[in-house]
Symmetry: C2
Amino acid sequence: MADVAVAKERRIIVAIDEGEESMYALTWCLKNVISQNSNDALILLYAKPPRTVYSTLDGTGYLFSSDIMASMDRYSSDMANGVIEKAKKLCRTQSGDVKVEARVGDGDPRDVICDMVEKLGADVLVMGSHGYGWIKRAFLGSVSNHCVQNVKCPVLIVKKPKSTITGSK
Amino acid sequence: MADVAVAKERRIIVAIDEGEESMYALTWCLKNVISQNSNDALILLYAKPPRTVYSTLDGTGYLFSSDIMASMDRYSSDMANGVIEKAKKLCRTQSGDVKVEARVGDGDPRDVICDMVEKLGADVLVMGSHGYGWIKRAFLGSVSNHCVQNVKCPVLIVKKPKSTITGSK
């Protein structure tokens, strides 16, 4: 990190999901972007599917019953918590002193990520090039490509070597 | 920059052209990515149009005469040298001790950039989101998007605030 930037607090948003590639992107960011003993603030951002997405998973065309919806909500929350805990653990082990906070947004990750970057005035957005979990099943198109096109701040796209990707591909 | 990465030499390729956005991307990289007193090596990469592109500028359908082609070659080389000098000056003023080398490739910037990243085993590719000069007139499609899709290393896309872009838009 250039000395001129060390004194300045940078808000670095890392978009995470249940896939391995976003965790690889976080690890790369901690090793290559985050400054030790700096004012960098790391914001872990997870996008949770909105309820409307569940119905697209029901092939019958009928909406799920309320108890199924409730259990899906619980599953979705558990998934979010699990991913965030995994990411926070990575931050502690890789870069113990970095300031970390987690945000969870509901909706299409493309909107959740772009809105949060704008809202927080992020200095950098870090993300994997694939995945964002359920988005691949519920939407078409690349989340990272959409974000590169739409956010104002620099975007760092990190790819995990294909040979070791399992969860995010 | 995380301490764990400082000892390791990183090869950082910055794709430059005559547009302001690539110079902004270089400046951002020098301030936010390059480590002071590190082994980071900065490679400035400029793609020069191949001769075949000139003919697309000739609306008559006839190829230019050899003397016109020669003067276009000189113009192209002068442009490359001018851009590289401007970039090197930025490096000296922003980050005096960083190791800098320049490479010039002939052809479609998409191929020149992706090939050089592969050839040099770059650790990071830094580029603006627009521009790459003549590519906008000779080819369709986004250079940065193509590179994000095709290179294996992390790609940092840096946008210059629109209000101040002139040369690259």
